[in-house]
Amino acid sequence: MDLKAILEAALFAAQRPLSLAELEALFGEDERPATEEIRLALATLADEYAARPLELRKVASGYRFQVRAAYAPWISRLFEERPGRYSRALLETLAIIAYRQPVTRGQIEEIRGVAVSSGIIRTLTEREWVTVVGHRDVPGRPALFATTPQFLDHFNLESLADLPALPEFAVSPELEDVLAAAQTDPTHPSEEPPDPADAGA
């Protein structure tokens, strides 16, 4: 049986990202291919889907097939529930946790200048985007929050390093608009992440 076809079948059957280790474990000990062979087969597979509405993408917890963003207008009609629009407060809190992790609630509040509602922290932890990774050794032992692989998976990222760069200086609103235009255009080349399967990481 063809290695590539087995990987393809498994990635579609799993309905979640599969790590290289999980892909290797599909095979019995006597027939197990080398990791390098699996990587190669995944790259070929990604190429074969280049002209299809699906793409093979590597995200934090592994490889997955996903429908390309260009099809969202039709696909979203399939789902009754509109995808949640997240409030600015939630997104700002999430951004601070993502870029400054691990952080305490107090540190988030210091940056935002307002109290962080418990509802936001609850939503973020219930979605499994954020988790408590420890406690700060100061009075009250406040929880330290960090993002999870599920957060990266959901935002189509492979690692925290793939997050858009945090602006180093205050950017003028005009420049911000230019950046915004570039990023919302799904066919914009700079937006397209590198080919999932050939990433050696």
């Binding site: 579609f12 996903q66 951004a95 858009p164 609103p173």
Partner: protein
């Protein structure tokens, strides 16, 4: 995404309109009555409101005209107050900070210390810049293609594929210690005999019952395989007798001195 911010326009000092009917507010500050609740939600806090005022008027964030900004900020706060809106404490705290900076700016500073002394606005500028970075980061995060909104996991059915079970293993020592626990508990509660010698007998009992499950009766002698020799015969005999004692089998003899047969007391089966 500067949100619900109105079109850029030079701000009037809003303190003048304190207490005035909403409709007479300068256009830039005009907030439709049904949107009053939304106003505070439009700004994510005092830093956000300040940033809005600064950006809207193209002030240099590094050289904020603090008197002007303070007047406008306090104008908003007073308007909120006059409209009886609940103001988060953070907004009032910021008003106090602005007033303090303003007063420090007004104080004449000796020339020689001016170089070392920090600009009274420095800390506020640092906070504003830091907040602005994360505000921009949040907007970029929101624009990332995201699962369930822009991207969808692709899956195919696999219903016909069986789900194998991988059973946990048991070590002999765990089984033994479990049994020893049972026996210890038994010793505490009642007198019960568990004797190890009968193990092979017990195994033989199971075997005979299994054989009887497939046969109505068995000839007594077939329960004694010759190749097992004398010890085997003893084990078999004990098993037959124990089964009889436990009324699991019957030993039947149709006529005096006739052949002995064994049958299960009740019809047995593997069900």
């Amino acid at each position: 995404m500067t949100g619900a911010a109105p079109a850029p326009e030079v701000l009037e000092p809003v303190a003048r309109v304190k207490g005035a009917p909403v409709g007479q507010l300068p256009e830039d500050l005009y907030i439709p009555p049904d949107a009053l609740e939304i106003f505070l939600e439009t700004f994510e806090g005092p830093l956000d409101l300040l940033l809005y005022l600064i950006r809207k008027q193209n002030f240099d964030i590094l050289d904020i005209p603090i008197a002007e900004i303070s007047r406008q900020y306090i104008g908003y706060i007073e308007m909120m107050d006059s409209l009886r809106m609940e103001l988060a404490a953070e907004y009032l705290l910021m008003a106090a900070i602005l007033a303090e900076i303003k007063s420090r700016m007004l104080l004449p500073r000796p020339k020689e210390t001016e170089a070392e002394e920090e600009d009274p606005r420095a800390e506020l500028v640092r906070r504003l810049q830091e907040y602005e970075r994360f505000k921009a980061a949040a907007e970029r995060l929101d624009r990332l293609p995201r699962l369930e909104r822009d991207l969808f996991e692709a899956g195919a059915g696999s219903d016909d594929i069986p789900v194998p079970k991988v059973y946990p293993s048991i070590a002999m020592k765990d089984l033994l210690s479990a049994f020893q626990d049972v026996l210890k508990r038994l010793n505490h509660t009642r007198h019960h005999h568990i004797c190890r010698e009968s193990l092979s007998v017990r195994e033989r009992m199971s075997m005979i019952l299994e054989r009887l499950a497939g046969n109505a009766t068995l000839a007594f002698e077939t329960l004694f395989p010759l190749h097992e020799g004398r010890p085997g015969a003893v084990v078999s005999l004990l098993a037959v007798l124990e089964l009889g004692k436990e009324r699991l089998i019957e030993i039947i003899q149709d006529e005096p001195l006739g052949a002995l047969r064994v049958r299960a007391v009740a019809a047995t089966g593997g069900d």
